[in-house]
Symmetry: C2
Subunit: 353 residues, 2 copies
């Protein structure tokens, strides 16, 4: 039934974004309440009062996480945070989540409780309520599906398709650390596999490992933007790497962009780990993914206001579409941005130099 | 990390409902908008206008469906319908869904398209919009997570914990067919496995197979109850078998119940298939599951109004708690109802006589 070899298109040839485009092309919103469907960080629904913002993510063991080094408590926390990050990226405030899990009999009640410890902790930290979900068995492995629901006043929502020429491009925090944290964890796992008597050597990698295992969503930035009277012109969260997300904004908005390598925020610990792994830190920031920082654009007129907010870096500006999407390197060269971010149907691209 | 054998509680000892109780006991709703959390067919959220109703389900290949006999198109349709059924069971109207899938490289684009064909068809039939989701790879097998969102006026919502003594117990349609449809499909699969040259013999089983592969949610009943000015006193959809759902209502409402075997609606095709399989049709109706009919209670005063609506059967009445939960058999005996419905962590109980 599935395997008509003569008429078979491999998903990896299409890629995740290709598949999403396919699905989107067939959907048509008919209900008046469906404001925004597939194609942003979250869907937007008008239920009579504020606008309701809905985002959902699926996490699969062996694809998105490895329980060899990801404690279940951290996994529960991260599963919630990555969804809340999508809600913040709409400039909305999350209020409820549902959490569904599928688990095989490899997992005990104690294991599930450890997972939910993390879920509850995230709920407490981000002031959201766990209101529902589903529990299922799975043929093998741990499967998680989280849906987050948030709210915003109609005029407060920020989409990804509304950047305009001359807007400033901003990112929060620093980038590339989560990807390098993953490399450290993967390395120590394979060392341990080869020789279980060798203790994992994670010293000096605390920051990047924490960025991988326990990311935070940038609620604080959303709050500070509001306090300072700034409404971004477009926004997206960085789950697949800076390059991929910036391309999303530019394509959706019909613009180009120019960013500067020396402006991309990279933590010293990330630089140092990148050197250890013979990786280029900028490439990790552009293509590594899982940073869960915010990428947004603001009007040029907001420049002075933005500068006052801590932990935001200005990395470039939006150009007209014809100018393309470029990064000016430290050496002064202009290189075209390519989306080498995480693709759910490919192995992660290897950002070696 | 997972396998502390000395302090390990098996999930199968706890069961799905036990696990849900554990999760629920730790959740506390803090946001004013969170009206109802875990413990009904759907969560209820107040977002300023109407009430918003959210339900989510996870379906896992090898646990909830078998692609050997479940066409992907039907699977897409069913995955949507089972979620919409939960929304109707709140007396709400679904408007949006999100669909997340995890697929291995066993699946081609054409296979995914077939699945979404079914999703789109259900969207069209039930007038809901597909507004989002996630696409992921999986280590093996097909994983589906659907979230449905519906709306109702505050005074229209119907919960499961509000049945009262003397209320009439009603069910829609007929029960047990989907379970017997599954038995036919399983039998033909094993025959085919033993001898691939034998063609599957599904003749005479059309109705029960359709009930298994392409269930419908009872939107029509919700509409007719409204038209006739009836608001159920409690309601739940029948996904795990009549007995299990009735026990949910009674436990949540703090009541007992008495139902009559001869009043339980069973289609002649179900009776006939039950005989072929040497099964008791009543047991299939009580414990089979996947009927997606509605079980609800109404005030005694609504008796005449209810009788006018086609496709609703009165099967008994709510009693005080002390009287327990009983079924009066055709032979006149009183038997206690037990929840032998589908348990996600157990194999399905075998309802042989």
């Amino acid at each position: 039934m599935l395997e008509n070899k003569n008429n078979r298109t491999e998903l990896r040839d299409l890629g995740e974004f290709g598949l999403i485009e396919q699905i989107k092309s067939r959907t048509e919103l008919k209900n008046a309440g469906s404001v925004k469907g597939i194609g942003d960080d979250a869907a937007v629904i008008d239920c009579g009062g504020k606008l309701c913002v809905v985002s959902t993510d699926m996490l699969v063991e062996g694809v998105h996480f490895d329980l060899a080094y990801c404690p279940l408590r951290h996994l529960g926390y991260k599963a919630v945070v990555v969804n809340l990050s999508d809600i913040f990226a709409m400039n909305a405030v999350p209020q409820q989540i549902t959490v569904s899990i599928g688990v095989s009999n490899r997992f005990s009640l104690e294991a599930i409780e450890a997972f939910y410890e993390g879920v509850y902790l995230a709920c407490e930290h981000y002031e959201v309520d766990l209101v529902g979900g589903d529990t299922s068995s799975s043929a093998g492995g741990f499967i998680i599906s989280v849906t987050a629901i948030g709210y915003a006043e109609k005029d407060q929502l920020v989409y990804r398709d509304t950047a305009a020429e001359h807007d400033l491009i901003c990112v929060t925090g620093d980038l590339g650390a989560a990807y390098l944290g993953l490399q450290v964890l993967e390395r120590e796992k394979s060392v341990y596999k080869d020789n279980p008597r060798i203790q994992p050597d994670l010293s000096g990698y605390d920051y990047i490992i924490e960025r991988q295992l326990k990311p935070e969503a940038r609620w604080d930035i959303i709050e500070r933007l509001k306090e300072n009277g700034i409404k971004p012109t477009s926004m997206i969260d960085i789950s697949d790497g800076l390059a991929s997300e910036l391309i999303h904004i530019c394509r959706a908005s019909g613009t180009g962009c120019a960013i500067y390598e020396d402006k991309i925020p990279v933590d010293p610990a990330t630089h140092s780990a990148a050197a250890d792994f013979n990786l280029n830190a900028t490439v990790c920031a552009l293509s590594g993914g899982e940073d869960y920082e915010l990428l947004f654009t603001v009007k040029l007129a907001d420049l002075e206001k933005i500068k006052k907010i801590k932990d935001i870096s200005l990395i470039g500006h939006i150009t007209e579409k014809a100018q393309g999407m470029f990064m000016v390197t430290d050496a002064g060269a202009s290189v075209q941005l390519t989306a080498q971010g995480w693709d759910a149907f490919l192995n992660k691209g290897d950002p070696r130099e």
